[in-house]
């Protein structure tokens, strides 16, 4: 297999707060190949966004990479001078955010904002850049792109803004687009359109997509590969089929069981009992053990290693380990 586009290699990120050190991500390893869609799944605060931000080199000042590294086309990204990262950002790596309304500058027109990376990274003349910006807006499916380019963010709807945001991030044909919960702030029909658009663009531009989400429906529809995170660690990762058909880790099983199934009218959806442990003092053993129905004595004695479960599918769980090697 050829070299992946992005490799996370045992990345650990710590956030230093007054109350202590928060281990926001620990030993996160996975890779993204060119043109592939990888979904990063997990509940709020499990380290999804922190992992994505460290990929962009945009960690908040209190956070730092404690160990491990991220490689882009084989070259390490972490610890690179800011100028190198800045050239990569926008050019090779792009990102769209959760709330398109706040991700666009309210006092600049849409066109003015799309033009900037074009002038900066592609060295286009302002006029040519404007033409390209209008073309980009057209490409993301906005009607009357020339008018849209001249309008201000407050004049557009959330869905239109997210499209504009996508146009902006696509401006320099990035190799990887990070979408941090791109549809959370949008209503259901619009979010389906946006996801469709992302999928179409991904195919036509052959870019990789790192999709951060907690919507498993979106994952099933979009992703090739799924990475499930829990309390800062990757608990299970694998091709989307394997994860959905044969989830191994109890947490993944719990997540999938908690999905509403159309047609099935249940009084209550199944849920995972208990609470996420406080990230300030995570246990020294499997952090899911306290909530796990299948937990055994061993689960409270150390961190589980990854067990390989077939092609690219692996899981960090003692129970799975036992079952596989029994």
């Amino acid at each position: 297999m050829n070299q992946p586009l992005i490799e996370f290699d045992r990345l650990s990120v710590e956030i230093h707060t007054k109350a202590g050190i928060v281990r926001a991500a620990q030993d996160v390893s996975f890779s993204i190949s060119a043109g592939q869609t990888v979904a990063l799944v997990g509940e709020s605060g499990c380290g999804k966004s922190i992992s994505a931000l460290s990929l962009m080199g945009l960690l908040p000042s209190a956070a730092r990479v404690a160990s491990g590294e991220i490689r882009y086309q084989g070259a390490p990204l972490t610890g690179q001078p800011r100028e190198t990262l800045r050239r990569l950002r926008g050019n090779d790596l792009a990102m769209i955010f959760q709330e398109p309304m706040s991700a666009l500058n309210p006092v600049l027109t849409i066109g003015e904002q799309i033009v900037e990376p074009l002038i900066k990274h592609q060295r286009l003349r302002p006029k040519a850049a404007w033409v390209k910006a209008v073309a980009l807006l057209d490409k993301v499916g906005l009607a009357r792109p020339d008018k849209i380019a001249e309008s201000y963010p407050h004049e557009l709807s959330g869905g239109m803004l997210q499209r504009a945001m996508i146009a902006m991030s696509m401006s320099c044909q990035p190799k990887l687009l990070i979408a941090d919960e791109p549809t959370t702030a949008l209503d259901v029909t619009i979010s389906a359109q946006i996801l469709d658009l992302l999928q179409t663009l991904q195919k036509s531009e052959q870019m990789a997509l790192l999709l951060i989400t907690h919507d498993l429906g979106v994952v099933a529809q979009m992703a090739d590969f799924v990475v499930v995170m829990y309390a800062g660690r990757v608990v299970e990762s694998g091709p989307v089929r394997a994860i959905f058909k044969h989830p191994q880790h109890p947490y993944t099983q719990g997540l999938l069981a908690a999905r509403p199934v159309p047609g099935a009218r249940l009084a209550r959806l199944p849920s995972i009992r208990g609470q996420v442990p406080n990230p300030m003092n995570l246990p020294e053993y499997c952090s899911f053990a306290e909530r796990c129905d299948q937990a055994q004595a061993q689960c409270r004695q150390g961190q589980p290693e990854y067990v390989s479960l077939g092609a690219m599918h692996q899981s960090a769980c003692f129970v799975v380990q036992k079952r596989e090697f029994a």
Binding site: R86, N105, P106, V107, E116, H154
Partner: protein, 305 residues
Amino acid sequence: MRFFSSKMRQRQDIALAASLTPMRQALRRLRHNRAAMSALIFLLLLIAVCLAGPWFSSWQLDTTNALQSRQAPSMDHWLGTDFLGRDVLTRLMYAGRISLTVGLISVVLSVALGFVAGALSGYCGGWIDSLIMRVADLLMTIPSLPLLIALGALLSELKIEPEIRIYMVMLMLSLIGWPGLARMVRGQILSLRERDFMLATEVLGLSLRRRLFGHLLPNTVPILLVVATTGVAGAILGEASLSYLGLGVVPPTPSWGNMMDSANSFIDFKRRPWLWMPPGMAIFLTVIAINVLGDGMRDALDPKS
């Protein structure tokens, strides 16, 4: 039918309002503010008179006439003459040019300085923030009038030419003005930089210069405009007090402040109000008009109103 058409028109109006830029919307609100518009008209008139007036005056700026000194207002001299027999109205108009220019330019300088300092301080944080803010704190702890007086005395000691001195006075006034502005801009930037769109500019790999001037500056324009407007009033007052004390713009260059100097003499103060009333009124009305306009702009630009 009629109801329908009026509904249509209303909808058109709404569509029109929506397509206006934020700045145009603010201008529209400003136009409905009577007090602010009167103040603006007054100021424009004042500027027009100061610029064009001297051409129509039959008197020269510096022509002295010992025989006609300290004359009361008459048909020849509408506002009388001063102790050297110079026409007060003509001098008042020239002085207006100087005072308004000093006010405007010193504010432009302090806004430029204040924005750059405040934006760097707020956006970069760390030691840059500490350094800039401590310098600003230091300048703000020194009472401004004594500082200005000391600087003015220094200028007199160095025997600076009156023409160059005007520029020095502008610099001095902007030196006093920028720290307050820098603090305000810093506060704005601190909240703006946390917004997603600033993260987005970083994601797009834009340079610091583009982020500061392309994305942050337009967001602070409303507050800069308001502060700058009221700042002009402050600068005019500062210039007037300095020049009144003989430390700002010095004769023969006229300014509203140094024309007020004649109120120093008790006889003139009591018997010849035409010597000090006109510049006094000019300062008073100008400052009030600018402040009213500034208030109106604040109301118009505040999105919460």
